[in-house]
Symmetry: C2
Subunit: 436 residues, 2 copies
């Protein structure tokens, strides 16, 4: 077979068994998003390159990291690298959208990156955002959605790390670090949990910070304790207006989280910085704590300037992205979902070709009642039909023969237990529909 | 706003109202597909160009009709132009897949084409295919799935047009037309219903057919009557082995359709040819008959050679594609779906900021019971909250005030009728969950 008849490098096919699992995960989080009043929303797979490379978006360097192409009229295009930039474009273009605009989007994005285990060039993202509200109520609600989603999927031990870009900016001022090195400092700080003190100190030094500045900075970013304690200690150090504002926002989130019921999961972590430049307020990361080295499950924050950067009116916004690819992987490894291999519930087997029509009629009756079933399409012998059904992973096989049709009594075999029952079609339908 | 901050030409954004409608349509057909035992399945958005341009796939000319690009390692890629070619690749690459392999795929494809009303460069396709079975039982089942899907969506008057590429090939022999002009003749014939006799005759002449050949051909392709009559008349004319085989296959489909219950919808139409070259057996088209000039709703056929062309073992296959974009458009125009503007059921309004926490707690209770709701995130006055809720299109507004919380009696306003009820939270939950 020609090599080029394979999937392109960094992409995957999803065969039914894998797809059924992914759909189960996606449907679970969709249901949670919808109970919180978020609506589905889609944008094109590709965008005009100018948008992807705009300030606040991917920037100039993005061309090397995306799939870039031109259409036949020489328009510059690129596959979207995330779901936030297209959403911000839509909001900028549609000022009539009532606010708050609450949307979710579970869809593909593409990045031309080094391929590693669990990192692909085509991947799914799962974003939920609230646009138009500057209130901490939105941020808290976004966190509640993430917590509820993960719990609905079966995650039990995880924490919600919180920080605020305003606090980090105040910290830059406090240690007298150069404003233009701000994002370098943020990126260095963010590595503390993953790479340890030495790496961070080296990077801070490289960013031009002096030992004294690094010491002061470390004193702050390593503050530990309950959310109340951490905020109190922070207030003693950062007394600038911007710093107080950031701390005040975190206080509000902690307070509001009580109504949502996830206060026990909050950890204020001043070394959380998040990689993206566009955050302006609270930033968050949901981290697995099961001790299984799973890491981050979700991340996000407030980005009040992005929509204006894309030509829209000044519009505050906040959101979170669930790491859906990692979540699916972890759930598979940890066997957190017990999913059937197939959505097909019953295989309706025929003992010979003469009863084929009856078999089809019975299958149609099951289908009318919403029961997923298959019939033989290969003119196989009954034993081979059972083999196929077993291989497919169906829960039941119903056998149709001339006698069975006459009596309206069919053998229904439970493929897990091996037990057989003799039931009328009506009884079978009742059993199948009540079981769901 | 810069022009390039708009959607790329030929693509669309789907705002929530539109998305909710599309999802309702997609979920309806998915449910039907699954009752027939078809499984979900996905492939990458782009493929290696060599595959897209392969024989049996898009051919050499495809480069001008697709979004073509190279990755940074100069690999030639292209956005997929349909869902059949990637599926055939997957089956060719995975000979271990149990047969029949029954999959559906509802996903995007892209073509760089002239933009017309209802024709976009990014569009959704909705395919359902059975791979591995050469039996007419598969073709009949595929047709039953299409019929059931359309009926589930509310379509009432439509017919299933049937023909067979074997019959058309026999016809080419019968009128002594040159074999290498076969596909030109097919494409000409296919235009009869849409463009009339003159156009077809002109195209047949251009394909090199003589007046006598054209007359003979027309006598055959204009045969009318019940399926039984049309087949009988066809048998009298086409007596070659390949012709008889094609007619025999159609007879079987008509016979089997009785068990599925859609025989009354079948029209044998010898001028149905379908555009694609890869069909090898029965071909079908589902056509709206409501008299509203809606045209084709679905189309497909058998393609027994495609998977082998892609390097797989010889593997028969048949499938149909629902014209999902057109279906959504028609359903919108004809008001066939009465969908709410929003998935949000209840807006939980707060009379002042003091009861905000209670409001959130009540919302969380509703959500735990699977009821979709929103709370105010904009610190709006109660009257403005009602205005927003009305605009959003929610069915109910629940008002939370200090007295209401104390008594556990809340006003629930039905936004359609304007009627208000005083209910406890438990009663509200009961009402909302029983109503679904």
């Amino acid at each position: 077979m020609p090599e080029n008849f394979q999937t392109p490098r960094g992409t995957r096919d999803f065969l039914p068994e894998e797809m059924i699992r992914r759909e189960a995960v996606i449907n679970t989080v969709k249901k949670v998003f919808e109970t919180y009043g978020f609506s589905p929303f889609e944008t094109p797979a590709f965008e005009n390159f100018e948008l992807l490379a705009a300030k606040g978006s991917g920037g100039d360097a993005i061309k090397d990291q995306i799939y870039y192409f031109k259409d036949k009229s020489d328009r510059e295009l690129g596959l979207r690298f995330d779901l936030t930039v297209p959403m911000a474009r839509v909001v900028a273009n549609n000022p009539q959208l009532p606010k708050p605009f609450k949307r979710y989007c579970i869809a593909r994005a593409w990045r031309y990156e080094e391929i590693r285990k669990d990192r692909f060039r085509e991947f799914w993202q799962c974003d939920v955002d609230t646009v138009g509200s500057s209130s901490m109520e939105s941020d808290t609600e976004i966190l509640a959605v993430a917590v509820d989603s993960l719990e609905a999927l079966g995650f039990k031990k995880f924490c919600v790390k919180l920080n605020n870009r305003k606090i980090l900016s105040a910290l830059i001022d406090f240690v007298n670090a150069p404003e233009k090195k701000k994002y370098d400092v943020f990126r260095a700080i963010d590595k503390l949990d993953k790479f340890g003190e030495e790496t961070v100190k080296d990077e801070l030094k490289a960013a031009g910070l002096k030992p004294k500045q690094i010491r002061e900075l470390f004193k702050f970013i390593t503050i530990e304790g309950s959310p109340g304690e951490v905020i109190k200690k922070g207030e003693k150090i950062l007394q600038s207006s911007i710093g107080s504002q950031g701390l005040e926002e975190l206080k509000k989130i902690v307070e509001l989280s009580k109504s949502y019921g996830f206060t026990d999961k909050i950890v204020i972590d001043f070394n959380l910085a998040r990689g993206l430049d566009y955050y302006t307020g609270p930033i968050f990361e949901v981290v697995d704590m099961s001790g299984k080295n799973i890491g981050s499950l979700a991340g996000g924050g407030r980005y009040d300037d992005l929509i204006e950067l894309f030509g829209g009116r000044p519009t505050p916004a906040t959101g979170i992205s669930l790491g859906i690819e990692r979540i699916v992987e972890v759930m598979k490894q940890e066997k957190m979902v017990k999913l059937p291999k197939t959505n097909v519930k019953v295989f309706v087997a025929n003992v010979n070709e003469e009863v084929k029509k009856d078999t089809i009629k019975i299958a149609q009756e099951l289908r009318k009642n919403g029961i997923s079933c298959q019939v033989d399409l290969m003119s196989r012998k009954i034993s081979k039909q059972f083999e196929f059904a077993d291989n497919l992973g169906v829960a039941f096989v119903l056998t149709v023969g001339p006698k069975e049709v006459k009596k309206n009594k069919f053998k229904l075999k439970d493929m897990k237990t091996g037990k057989e029952q003799e039931l009328s079609l009506e009884e079978i339908i009742k059993k199948m529909t009540s079981e769901r």
